[in-house]
């Protein structure tokens, strides 16, 4: 990889964004950040990142998923790997069964999940794998 990978973090928790930034920058990745879905989408429009790290629940319960679907449906952005960070796996159930089903009914838009709190090694491993193109589409199980 000749160029420095460009990673976009979208999360409304600034402390988390900063932590992720510190971890990623320690490996010399180029890191950009956005604090909600809309802002994040604009950043992607400006420049397509090599990886998006996305929080599930921001202003709304499914903002992260909504953005992920929006990206997947747009051919221009459909191939950007998405690493989704969630409070923890239980979060899926918290979204409410109806939302959960809605999510499961369509193609899984997310490449990989990572639980909060963010473990630096896990984050780096996941980011590295996704940047290399080892994206695992399909249902996460």
């Amino acid at each position: 990889m000749a160029t420095i990978p460009d990673i976009l973090i979208i999360d409304d928790d600034r402390d988390l964004v900063n932590s992720v930034r510190i971890i990623l920058e320690s490996r010399n990745y180029h890191v950009r950040s956005a604090y909600n879905g809309q802002e994040g989408y604009h950043s992607i429009e400006e420049k397509i990142p090599d990886l998006v790290i996305l929080d599930v629940m921001m202003t709304t319960d499914t903002e992260g998923f909504d953005l992920a679907y929006k990206l997947r449906r747009n051919p221009k952005y459909a191939n950007i790997p998405i690493l989704m960070v969630t409070g923890f796996t239980q979060r899926m159930a918290d979204l409410g069964p109806e939302n959960f089903q809605h999510i499961l009914s369509e193609d899984w838009p997310v490449s990989q999940f990572l639980e909060k709190p963010i473990d630096p090694e896990q984050l780096l491993a996941a980011a590295e794998a996704l940047l290399k193109g080892e994206a695992s589409y399909g249902h996460h199980q």
Binding site: D13, D15, L16, N18, S19, V20, I22, I23, S26, M57, D61, G87, F88, Q90, A93, D94, L95, G96, P97, E98, K116, P117, I118, D119, P120, E121
Partner: protein, 618 residues
């Protein structure tokens, strides 16, 4: 509602009665013929001078035509004609022939003096039972006419009538005796009275029968409706979204009330406007009308204030707010009630019919019951939704800072922010540990608080417990390996499914297995098994060779936040909520849990979970 149906049912009812009696007649005739033959033989043996020839002939002819009747009866039975008419004709033929036979026998046994005269009354009674009052009286007068004729003509000259003396003071066979005319008149009176009594009793009975039929039909209808209402309430109780609940309610209500359309209009927050929230059978155009300003709509205001609004024929009412729109929908009559819970009004519930004056007072009562139940279900759902929403928000708010702080602490402990002194490192690690306990506690607490709500709304369905267990096994296998534990999972083949939810089983399995792994020191063994207890129950068992539970603590195991002392000293993490959650979940599934433990040697947890019967009702 169902006049045609009623008539058909009545006809079926009376036809059944007629049919049964017609066959009963045939049976009765065999008995009569047999008695006749025996009587004739007895009369002959006792030396009574009777014209045996003609009498035997008559009895034999009775037997003969009864055979024909039997054949006709069988044919009727197999072809089952639709109307009542064939049975009527059949009854008429039978009664006519019987009366003719009887009159002939009377003629041959002494005319008006004949002891058989009494049987005429029986025949009239039978005719009255089976046929219309007019027919019954018709037969009465024909019989009297025949007997009168018998009295007038000289019987001796005609058929050599023999006199029989049986010691009667009243019956004489001689025409010359005026007493004979008197006895004829008395007999005639008795016969007419008998005909009158039987016909009037029968008319009353029929009227009562009809009333009973109507009542039973009405009971039938209300029973069916109540059952349908029960099913409907059960169905809408499983809905997790208000829109789905209302759609199900309007759809079902229209079906149960037998009407073309139904709608729910909801009041806005300020109670100023009504808006269609759900409808069934109404056009998009109609439903898309602007919200209705309550103050400007007299009718809607009255409904919201609590009165039943019933309109029998829209064409006769001119004050209706949207008359043309409604007529375009084919609505002629309608029924509306407020959706209320206590003093709170949620909106307006209406049913619409294409027939005028469709709704009876009974329908209105039923509709009122239905409306109240729907309102209750709506209110219950919105409260539980509000609670779930609140819990989710709380969960998010509580977890987010903990996650953020932990993520930041990782930066410190993993050296991303520069090296730490040994003391700093230790302190930060302690912070991490305490926070992770806090996070688990928050998660478990919220789970416990929301458990009831979420799963109670979801319907139970057959779940393959072995598959759920299988799916989670790899995670625990890894954990056990890391702790150098032997971890075994055994699931009996061909286990019946249990009635519940995957999520609930997951909760039970996860909590119990992770406890066992957590509290079993290295080198120990954890055995997880699923087996069949009986046709109705499966057993989920987790056995470990762990630290065990002190006997004094066994009875407090399921209390929230309880952790045994030895557990605390072995593993710091632990919220004391895991077993409380398992217990809660098992309660919901009608299961039980039992814990047996030897302090220092191990614990066995046994759960009995109700299974779905394989050959029972599905």
């Amino acid at each position: 509602m169902d006049i045609i149906n009623d008539t058909i049912k009545q006809q079926i009812f009376f036809r059944k009665e007629l049919r049964e009696r017609v066959y009963w007649f045939i049976k009765l005739r065999w008995v009569a013929a047999a008695i006749g033959l025996v009587g004739l033989a007895a009369a002959h043996l006792t030396g009574l001078r009777l014209p045996l020839g003609p009498l035997v002939g008559i009895v034999l002819s009775i037997i003969g035509y009864n055979i024909v009747f039997l054949l006709i009866g069988r044919r009727l039975l197999s072809t089952r004609p639709a109307g009542v008419r064939p049975y009527h004709i059949f009854a008429h033929i039978q009664i006519s022939l019987d009366i003719i036979s009887l009159l002939l026998m009377i003629m041959f046994t002494g005319g008006l003096a004949s002891p058989l005269l009494i049987f005429v009354i029986f025949h009239i009674v039978l005719a009255g039972m089976l046929l219309s009052p007019v027919s019954c009286f018709g037969y009465t007068f024909m019989v009297l006419l025949a007997l009168g004729t018998l009295l007038l003509i000289k019987p001796e000259g005609l058929l050599h009538l023999e006199t029989i003396h049986i010691g009667s003071h009243f019956f004489f066979h001689q025409l010359q005796h005026p007493e004979l005319i008197i006895s004829y008149l008395i007999f005639a009176m008795a016969l007419v009275v008998a005909a009158y009594l039987i016909t009037s009793v029968k008319v009353t009975l029929r009227a009562k029968g009809r009333e009973l039929l109507i009542i039973s039909k009405q009971l039938d209808i209300s029973n069916t409706k109540l059952l349908a209402l029960y099913e409907m309430i059960k169905e809408i109780g499983t809905k997790t979204r208000l829109q789905e609940l209302m759609d199900s309610a309007t759809h079902n209500a229209a079906r149960i009330m037998g009407v073309k359309a139904c709608s729910i209009k909801l009041l806005d927050k300020d109670k100023k406007y009504l808006e269609f929230a759900s409808s069934y059978g109404l056009s998009q155009e109609f439903v898309a009308i602007d919200r209705i300003e309550v103050d400007k709509s007299t009718i809607n205001r009255q409904i919201i204030e609590g009165s039943l609004y019933s309109i029998g024929n829209l064409d006769e009412e001119d004050y209706f707010q949207y008359p043309n729109d409604v007529r375009k929908e084919g609505v002629v009559s309608m029924l509306c009630l407020p959706l209320r819970v206590g003093h709170k009004t949620l909106g307006v519930f209406c049913v619409y019919s294409g027939e005028s004056n469709y709704f009876s007072a009974r329908d209105a009562d039923f509709f009122s019951l239905m409306t109240d139940l729907i309102a209750l279900a709506m209110e219950e759902l919105s409260q539980s939704t509000a609670k779930t929403w609140f819990l989710n928000k709380t969960a998010h708010q509580l977890r987010s800072p903990v996650s953020a702080v932990m993520s930041m602490l990782y930066l410190l402990t993993k050296g991303y922010l520069g090296p730490l002194t040994a003391q700093q490192q230790e302190t930060v690690t302690r912070c991490e540990k305490r926070l992770s306990i806090l996070r688990d506690t928050i998660n478990d607490l919220l789970k416990l608080a929301s458990e009831n709500d979420e799963s109670r709304r979801q319907p139970f369905h057959p779940v393959d417990a072995a598959a759920v267990l299988q799916a989670m096994t790899p995670i625990y296998l890894t954990q056990a390996e890391q702790k150098s534990l032997i971890f075994e999972v055994r699931a009996a083949a061909d286990l019946p499914q249990v009635l519940g939810q995957e999520r609930l089983l997951d909760e039970i399995f996860t909590n119990l297995i992770s406890n066992a792994i957590k509290y079993t020191p290295a080198g120990g063994r954890v055995l997880v098994s699923l087996s069949l207890e009986s046709a109705e129950k499966i057993v989920f068992k987790v056995e470990d060779t762990g630290i065990g539970i002190p006997e004094s603590d066994l009875n407090r195991l399921f209390a929230e936040f309880f952790r045994a002392e030895n557990a605390k000293s072995m593993v710091e993490e632990g919220t004391g909520l895991g077993l409380a959650i398992v217990k809660e979940v098992l309660d919901q599934m009608n299961g039980t849990i039992k814990v047996a433990s030897h302090f220092g040697r191990g614990t066995t947890v046994t759960c009995l979970i109700p299974a779905q019967r394989r050959h029972g009702l599905s």
